[in-house]
């Protein structure tokens, strides 16, 4: 393999591979490349090397991302946060067709609560600390809504909303701990 090509391919791989795997993985590729070049033709070995680099990118990126715990935990928490938002929208839509004053209806909050618990339970199954991150996200958004939200929102609703989200994440996280088998990731 031309030195330049080898250097470029190795540079690409070294940007993707986690630091702990960098030396052994690049060494393995180099060793097999040398073996193939000596057994067959250098051009075939070069093509094999290029194929290996291209085919390895997705797997190596996945290792890199999942090895950084806080990124995957935050990603799971953000997905759960979006899921909670979607559930709230659907519940508001359904209750608005039933009740005239649907915007501040305790029924909507009662329906949403167990669904949030369920979402947190599954999020915490994927990443143990996702519930904690989600609770923080909810507290921040509820505080912002309470401070800068519409003044027409009743006080009882603001207070209830302030406690409902974090309480649901707490219940979901506690339920996750009672899972019969398995270690938390």
């Amino acid at each position: 393999m031309r030195d330049r090509t080898l250097q470029v391919l190795n540079w690409i791989l070294s940007r993707i591979v986690p630091v702990t795997e960098r030396e052994p993985l690049l060494g393995d590729l180099t060793e097999e490349y040398e073996l193939r070049a000596s057994e067959g033709s250098p051009s075939t070995a070069r093509q094999w090397y290029l194929r290996q680099v291209c085919a390895s990118v997705a797997s190596l990126l996945w290792i890199r991302l999942t090895s950084i715990a806080w990124i995957s935990t935050t990603a799971v928490a953000l997905l759960a946060y979006i899921a909670v938002g979607v559930v709230e929208l659907i519940v508001n839509e359904v209750t608005s067709s039933v009740s005239a004053n649907a915007a501040y209806n305790p029924l909507g909050m009662l329906i949403t609560f167990p669904m949030v618990v369920l979402i947190v339970y599954f999020a915490a199954r994927l990443r143990r600390n996702a519930g904690l991150v989600l609770a923080t996200l909810m507290l921040v958004s509820v505080t912002a809504m309470t401070l800068w939200g519409a003044e027409s929102v009743p006080l009882w609703y603001r207070i209830a909303y302030f406690f409902a989200g974090p309480s649901a994440t707490l219940v979901g996280s506690v339920l996750r701990r009672f899972r019969p088998t398995g270690e938390a990731r």
């Binding site: 060494g27 180099t30 060793e31 088998t181």
Partner: protein, 109 residues
């Protein structure tokens, strides 16, 4: 069997290759062992991703070897199966044997 003890198909193949290679199991030899047994040109990235997953499950452990010239002065990382890994292999093998017993078309006559 706990869910975490279950082996995926690639995990199963990689773990078997590591066990077959014994003291000479490292990334390149594992990849070549799988390639010669399955005919699949498996990527080194997929092999490493699986080895890391197996190590995190406690089915294999690794240690660094000495750097060599044909590897551009880079060290090898050797892998060995653990008792848990061998137990997971036995369990998976028993399941396959039970499920395939008596099935026509699976066995050569």
């Amino acid at each position: 069997m706990k869910r975490e003890d279950a082996l995926g198909s690639l995990e199963h193949i990689v773990l078997l290759a590591v066990m077959r290679l014994g003291a000479n199991a490292y990334g390149m030899t594992v990849r070549r062992e799988i390639e010669s047994a399955t005919g699949r040109d498996i990527s080194i990235g997929a092999v490493y991703a699986t080895l890391i997953r197996l190590e995190s499950k406690g089915f294999i452990r690794s240690h660094a070897g000495a750097p060599t010239a044909e590897r551009g002065g880079r060290a090898k990382r050797y892998f060995r199966t653990t008792a848990d890994g061998e137990s997971a292999l036995r369990t998976t093998h028993e399941i396959i044997v039970k499920l395939s017993a008596g099935l026509k078309g699976l066995h050569h006559t």
